[in-house]
Symmetry: C2
Subunit: 443 residues, 2 copies
């Protein structure tokens, strides 16, 4: 294969955002080259084959009915969806030792979040009259001041962790509100039926990226080549990735925002963009899977769902696959729990996590036929999942830099989408938006 | 000059931290190589010659009596100090339109800050029983809750901006307290006589770094070579910087923390360290200098000092030089003001800044014989000054990673010093500490 390219557009990163951008451009007969640091495409979607026709989604996996752009793209690629298991049945709950939280009064807080969020301008939340005020405090400060009931705060904390893979003190209140605004509501963020966790992809979420890459062809998607340098002049840009050099007219950078710092830009990026790279930080999560001969919990009338704040795993779901007799449980270890969990020796992690599953689902959970652990923080080309979060004073100071092109360089990635930021749908939308910017510029 | 090296220790970055480490090691007959991305040494200290025997310190410049390690190093290098001008005389103040703030009741807040700070364990503030609580809120949240008087809050904001080059909503309360703990008191941080702004260096602050580099010799300090890759194995490390490759036994990385993200580490860094790079962000400041035929303000009994929150410049000082008849004023544009200032066209920046100086010092200030502007955020190899600040949830989650060596790699830099973090003294202390770690390891 040649290592010298002359194309219209180079796309940095073969996650969903980058591949969507490439596909949109290809559709318009623009010559594209996608350069990917890893030896696979899909970014934060990554599917592994498990035993007995199961597949294991180590990364993004859920999709909901309002996530219309990822659904449209999947349909175009012939990837179909199925309903997530466990929407019905018992749910195990243990929050502050309580097993019934349906009476915990979090309604008023939720309503206030949604009322504030609804006021935000979708494309520019930092321009809201109260943006500075909301961005000056952590979600934790807001909870302490506004939610007197400790049990309500504890439940809200579990929910917030599950959405952001970050603790309430890591998040700006404006960031939380921006997220809600982009998703539509807290219900849409947190629920299954009709919401963001409603469906999954046959074959796993990475299938979408794999199919786009296949259609683009191996000439247009090069793996294992971290981009190190992007030089731009008036007449075009030069992208360097190891042995590869590519001349082009425009560049789309579609990597998690802090990772853009690893690329040398010539001329150097403006200060505002450079500080953006330091102000947004991905959440921290480890995703655990256990495969069993059957989904034994269903016979007991159990959904496979659990919510807890007394161990490492905060949330579990029935993650079984439609064409397999096996049962699959997934457990999410999030934020502070994920940081502490990562410090345990590997064997200890397996032991304590499985013990938590057994505590909830009984002794039959003790003998999985396969187990998987994925800590996204340790991935050199990801450094955290699900997506980037702003602490205080991020959105109001650097929000305007998120999507602003710099010369011939355009920015994509799930973090840059106003709608479903940090979700697969946001990634696809960002790729479409960046492609549209480039098409307009090339005209 | 050769481009292949085989030394004991490679030091990445020729700021004060890196050069101090190199000098300490050289003293113990350890073979060192310092690799610096810029075409000069000194990092965030940088001195330019001005007209009429003046010198212009674009970066760090002040030193105080308790900053004993930078003072000792300067003395060893034969660099002497002089008292900062303007400790006496009138001071111009305009905070919320008030010209007398001596009666503003900030004493109780200052006392509370100092009382909380005094409780922190110097080396590990994140272990304090209330660390999580203090790290969960911004300084702004604390001020709003604890300081009812808006004028007192406004004055505290001006002081905080001058110390951190960041707004109160960008800072974790624990970060502010950690800073105070490491400096000793707010008085030591903010005052001139007996405190951090008491003295300056003859010839400018960069002189210290220049002299260390000269003693190390040009063979041991290579300029213009950004380190791109550090590979470590059990037997040693390999450092690559463009044409240069250097084998060594240990590496000291002495660059501003977010910039460490630009180096490829093989094997990849642990996740905790990678997230640290995303959780600490340098302040934002532009430093302005004007040189006049004489220090005309002194004849009017004015100190040259001003403090204001009604323009771009928050603080000015008499920055004249001892062996020159000229007068020099320095103005600091900080945090939000610096971000807004940077968006103005260059000519407009000059115009509005000088207009502010004229408003304070009268029409004689309108005609400087030289003017200088230094925006550290735009420096590719700095990306902000004075130093790194943690927002909420940084110290408690990633503080332990600040100095923890990773295999053969040790970390220096002003951000890593418990004492006088982010100051020249902190940089020197960090270099000494990293050198001691390496010496112990090489034994």
């Amino acid at each position: 294969m040649t290592n010298e390219f002359d194309v219209d557009v180079v796309i940095v990163g073969a996650g969903l955002a980058g591949l969507t951008a490439a596909w949109e451009l290809r559709r318009s007969r623009v010559r594209v080259l996608v350069l990917e640091a890893r030896d696979r495409v899909g970014g934060r979607t990554w599917t592994e084959q498990g035993p007995g026709n199961t597949f294991i989604d180590h990364g993004g996996q859920y999709v909901g009915p309002t996530q219309t752009r990822i659904l449209a793209l999947a349909e175009e690629m012939g990837v179909t969806t199925f309903k997530t298991y466990g929407a019905e049945g018992d749910r195990h709950v243990s929050v502050q030792g309580r097993d019934d939280v349906s009476q915990v009064a979090i309604g008023p807080a939720i309503e206030r979040f949604e009322r504030m969020a609804a006021e935000l301008p979708l494309e520019a939340p930092w321009t809201h009259p109260r943006a500075i005020e909301w961005d000056a405090q952590t979600v934790q400060s807001w909870l302490l001041a506004q939610v007197p009931d400790p049990l309500a705060r504890a439940l809200l904390r579990v929910i917030i962790r599950a959405v952001f893979t970050a603790e309430p003190d890591e998040l700006s209140l404006l960031h939380l509100l921006t997220y809600i605004r982009g998703a539509g509501s807290i219900t849409l963020l947190t629920q299954m039926d009709g919401a963001a966790q409603e469906r999954r992809f046959h074959g796993g979420a990475q299938t979408v990226a794999n199919r786009i890459a296949a259609r683009l062809g191996t000439d247009a998607v090069r793996l294992g080549v971290p981009v190190r340098r992007i030089e731009q002049a008036r007449t075009g840009a030069l992208v360097e990735a190891g042995e590869i050099t590519a001349r082009c007219r425009r560049v789309i950078v579609a990597v998690p925002i802090p990772l853009a710092e690893r690329i040398t830009f010539a001329p150097a990026l403006p200060g505002e963009r450079a500080q953006l790279h330091q102000r947004i930080s991905p959440g921290v999560t480890t995703k655990l899977h256990w495969v069993y001969p059957t989904a034994f919990w269903r016979a007991d009338g159990h959904s496979g769902r659990a919510l807890a704040d007394d161990g490492y795993i905060s949330v579990t779901f029935d993650n079984s696959c439609p064409d397999s007799d096996h049962g699959v449980l997934v457990g999410f270890v999030e934020a502070d729990a994920a940081r502490a969990f990562a410090r345990l020796p590997a064997a200890e992690r397996q032991r304590v996590a499985l013990a938590e599953v057994v505590r909830v689902f009984g002794p039959r959970a003790a003998d999985p036929i396969a187990r998987y652990e994925q800590n996204w923080l340790e991935e050199e080309w990801t450094r955290g999942c699900y997506g980037g979060n702003f602490g205080p004073a991020g959105w109001t100071r650097y929000g305007a830099a998120l999507r602003a092109p710099i010369g011939l360089i355009h920015w994509a990635g799930a973090e840059t989408s106003p709608i479903w930021m940090n979700y697969m749908d946001g990634a696809v939308r960002s790729g479409e938006r960046a492609a549209a910017e480039v098409l307009a510029a090339l005209d």
